[in-house]
Point group: C2
DNA sequence: ATTGATAAACTAATATTATTAGTTTATACT
DNA sequence: AGTATAAACTAATAATATTAGTTTATCAAT
């Protein structure tokens, strides 16, 4: 008891994520979800309380995935190298899971436990920024700028606003470069 | 003939925009829209071809509003002053019309005429950037960075990711400042 | 003014969806 | 083996988008 339920929940969320990417969040329907799981729609209500709760859990699922991706990208790197790597991983996640990524924006609407998880992703960032010894204000400013740059570019790109294909990655890297320029020299860096 | 129809369309779009802000795009319903217009739902089909087309027209409506706001902000200013002013106006529009703003992201999915209008907004920006004599590549890079910064910040802020209230405007201005730093000195500027 | 065309409203009907209630079935523990 | 429980099912309801077909109001031309 409990463990098996966990698995069911996982299965439902995975199927939901998959369905969301296939059909788009707009046309996401419980009927299709049930069908994908080989079950009739009402059966879903044994595992969740309806569409609204599912959306919330999906947002939770999404932020966790992104957090894992970001964390992984930062392993074994530090300073600007880490920040470039994170930015790259962040972009790839959004491009490969556009629907899931877009769901993350709804996060702050939900209840505390879900919101906390959203905060966790930023913890990775703060850890990377530690060596720069920024004060509270500088830290906030920088973190917001960095995240805004990533989110803004990636979200416009994925929506289809940036047409010329080959230069997209370059544009992104330059944008991130612009932001990183405002970090002080790394401690113990050789130049 | 024709002019009166135009008016009807305007009325429908205004009511739609209003309803979207009231209920949120998620819970936007043709029944409520009809009710707001003092009419039964099927009557709407005399003026539009259904939900999908309405979404498209709403996106068109939204980008036009934003374009107007941006254009107005740029009047009588040039260079970085204009770019700060535009950024400020852009942010205010998004904060005051969050649902309408979010609809703009769907723009590239639609047909050419709608997409063209999306491009028009950027024309204003290119005009402002003319005096800097950037080459094609620099221009694209900068425009993307600037727009990404605006969109990213504003969209995260409006979603509720940035908690500490008093510093939000400051954070935004600093972000824009970071981007503008990468413009060359204005022609004929006095330092 | 009367009429006749046109457009826009209406009512009625259908299909799809989310959701609830109530029933059956399978599973797991004693 | 027998029962408690959870998860599936069927049936039913309310809301929605949409279509078809009918009525009504408007407006131009006689």
């Amino acid at each position: 008891m409990g463990r098996r339920k966990r698995l069911e929940k996982e299965m439902i969320l995975e199927a939901s994520a998959q369905l969301a990417e296939e059909r788009g969040m707009e046309h996401f329907t419980l009927s299709e979800l049930a069908q994908k799981l080989g079950v009739k729609p009402p059966s879903l209500y044994n595992h969740l309380n309806g569409m609204d709760q599912l959306s919330e859990e999906l947002a939770y699922y999404a932020i966790n995935q992104l957090e894992a991706v970001v964390q992984k990208a930062a392993v074994g790197r530090s300073g600007k190298a880490a920040l470039y790597e994170i930015a790259d991983a962040y972009r790839l996640f959004a491009l490969q899971n556009p629907q899931l990524y877009s769901v993350i924006l709804k996060l702050p609407q939900y209840e505390p436990p879900v919101i906390e998880e959203g905060r966790n992703m930023m913890q990775v960032l703060y850890r990377v920024l530690e060596p720069y010894h920024l004060n509270q204000d500088e830290l906030r400013t920088f973190a917001r700028a960095y995240r805004s740059a990533m989110h803004g570019f990636v979200s416009l790109e994925q929506a289809g606003f940036f047409l010329s294909e080959p230069e997209r990655k370059t544009s992104y890297e330059r944008l991130i470069g612009m932001i990183l320029q405002f970090l002080p020299q790394e401690e113990g860096a050789e130049k």
